[in-house]
């Protein structure tokens, strides 16, 4: 049996695998030419989907802690959030490089003209201060409650991310609906939980 600190270590390794294994899978698919007729599009979609999933998983860590009370979840939460950020940055770079071929005038035009690009860019931009303040010393320096307030931006970012996915979808809304439903459930849990504890 693992003792308490070993279990925390094991869980952190698990989070590391969850964040990094999709990259191995993507590299494998790319290497063996399994990404279909338009590999660039497959990479853009995969990185975006993985990033959004990991963002929702990060948000789910807090309810999971509420329900289980196990501290290991909170210890691994920042790492999970950084993996989500990593994938969403990869998503942006894949779009700029593989989809737009670093054509800056066009990238700028698309960002100005296309709402779904704007929503996506806003979602990622909101995560930048969270990633920058994710170190333990910034957490301490900011003070715990200020840090928590700032990091609630993750909900706004996820909502913008789901909106981004929703408005670029053509006809088949199953996937964006699933993401929206999961996010809504997490928000409802958070609100109800806060209301109960305030009383």
């Amino acid at each position: 049996m693992l003792d308490a600190s070993q279990r925390i270590l094991a869980f952190r390794l698990l989070v590391m695998l969850a964040g990094s294994l999709p990259a191995a899978w993507l590299a494998w698919q790319w290497f063996f030419g399994d990404l279909g007729a338009v590999p660039a599009e497959a990479v853009v979609h995969f990185t975006g989907r993985t990033g959004l999933i990991l963002l929702l998983v990060t948000i789910a860590f807090s309810p999971a802690f509420r329900l289980t009370g196990w501290v290991g979840i909170m210890i691994a939460r920042r790492q999970m959030g950084l993996w989500a950020f990593f994938w969403l940055v990869a998503h942006m770079l894949a779009w700029m490089g593989l989809d737009q071929f670093w054509d800056w005038p066009w990238i700028r035009r698309e960002m100005v003209d296309l709402p779904y690009i704007r929503y996506g860019a806003a979602a990622l931009l909101l995560l930048v201060p969270l990633a920058l303040t994710s170190f333990r010393y910034t957490q301490k320096a900011m003070g715990f409650s200020a840090w928590h307030w700032l990091h609630r931006l993750i909900y706004v970012s996820a909502a913008l991310g789901v909106t981004h996915l929703w408005i670029l979808t053509r006809a088949d809304y199953r996937m964006p609906m699933l993401f929206a439903a999961v996010l809504a459930a997490l928000v409802v849990f958070r609100v109800v939980d806060a209301a109960i504890h305030r009383r």
């Binding site: 279909g36 007729a37 338009v38 660039a40 599009e41 737009q100 071929f101 054509d103 066009w106 035009r109 698309e110 003209d113 296309l114 709402p115 779904y116 408005i167 670029l168 053509r170 006809a171 088949d172």
Partner: protein, 325 residues
């Protein structure tokens, strides 16, 4: 390790091609009559129906000969056939690009008939073999531009829709032509969900339908049409976004009033009746100025009417293409 040696066959032992083909014809013929006898003995009623594989044999014979070929894509290279058969929008099989190739074997094309109805002199349901019989086929190399801003260059095999329409009498009163795809939710898994009001419907103005560029295609890359590309017979309108080129057509109706189409019903703000390729008029959610040519890196500038302006621009003379998108 012993090396394998190809057996050397003397020229005299090789069956001449003509003999070989005669033998195949003889075998096919006797198989058919033999099978027909057996079937007739078991189920006499079936004798009246045509042989189930007839259109495929008619088409196979037509594809054997040298077909006249015309390229209308300039010097642009053909898109790799593997890409054309694995990257498809054919929501009847699912909405992922890879779905059609995976599930298209469920499409039943045997037998196939097309109902030609409405304002025509000779309406009725016509077996595909009868539509193909005596019809000259040709190869046409066209660009295909999807509304999702990707494009391909495809060597279609088919015949002008105008020839089919003329055979059923000159369309006198009709102003529009409506097309309908197959409806078969048992085999087409995508039709079990109503993302579109099935069956898929498309339409053209009569002058667009009679235009010599407008093709009914029954094959591509020298072979019969793969299921995922719209077997056995589909429309190809090269100057319009791909969704206008309806696949697996079972019904052609000539009408007086302008009909609605599946995509207009699905989202009237985003899809218009004409859907002409136009780099100046953006889709509300993405730009149409450039396109990704499948198999190429980088982007191409999208051409007005997909590069067919010289042939078709006059059809729309005086029309505000921003309003009639």
């Amino acid at each position: 390790m012993t090396r394998y040696h190809y057996p050397a066959i003397p020229e005299s032992e090789v069956t001449p091609r003509e003999l070989f083909e005669q033998r195949r014809r003889f075998l096919k013929g006797s198989l058919k009559s033999g099978a027909a006898l057996g079937v007739a003995a078991a189920m006499p009623g079936l004798l009246l129906s045509p042989t189930a594989r007839a259109w495929q044999e008619t088409l196979a014979d037509q594809l054997e000969g040298e077909l006249p070929s015309r390229s209308l894509a300039g010097e642009e290279a053909l898109t790799d056939k593997t890409d054309v058969t694995t990257y498809n929008n054919f929501y009847e099989f699912g909405t992922r690009k890879s779905d059609p190739e995976v599930y298209a074997h469920r499409l039943v094309t045997d037998p196939w008939s097309v109902s030609i109805e409405g304002e025509v002199e000779k309406p009725g349901s016509f077996a595909l073999e009868d539509i193909l019989a005596g019809q000259e086929l040709e190869e046409r190399i066209y660009r295909l531009r999807c509304v999702e801003a990707w494009s391909m260059v495809i060597p279609w095999i088919g015949f002008p829709l105008a020839e089919l329409l003329k055979r059923h009498g000159p369309p006198s009163r009709a102003k529009y032509v409506v097309f309908e795809s197959i409806l078969d939710p048992d085999n087409l898994r995508g039709q079990r969900r109503s993302i579109i009001d099935w069956p898929y419907r498309e339409a053209l103005r009569i002058d667009e339908a009679m235009h010599p560029l407008t093709l009914m295609a029954v094959g591509m890359y020298g072979e019969k049409m793969p299921n995922q590309n719209g077997a056995p017979i589909r429309l190809v309108v090269p100057w319009k976004y791909g969704f206008k080129s309806i696949k697996s057509v079972v019904r052609i109706r000539l009408v007086e009033e302008r009909p609605t189409t599946s995509w207009i019903e699905q989202n009237p703000d985003e899809y218009g009746f004409y859907a002409n390729v136009n780099p100046e008029v953006d889709h509300p959610r993405w730009s149409q100025g450039r396109e990704r040519r499948i198999g190429e890196s980088g982007r191409r500038e999208t051409l007005m009417f997909n590069g067919y302006a010289d042939e078709v621009a006059e059809l729309y003379a005086g029309m505000d293409l921003t309003r009639h998108f």
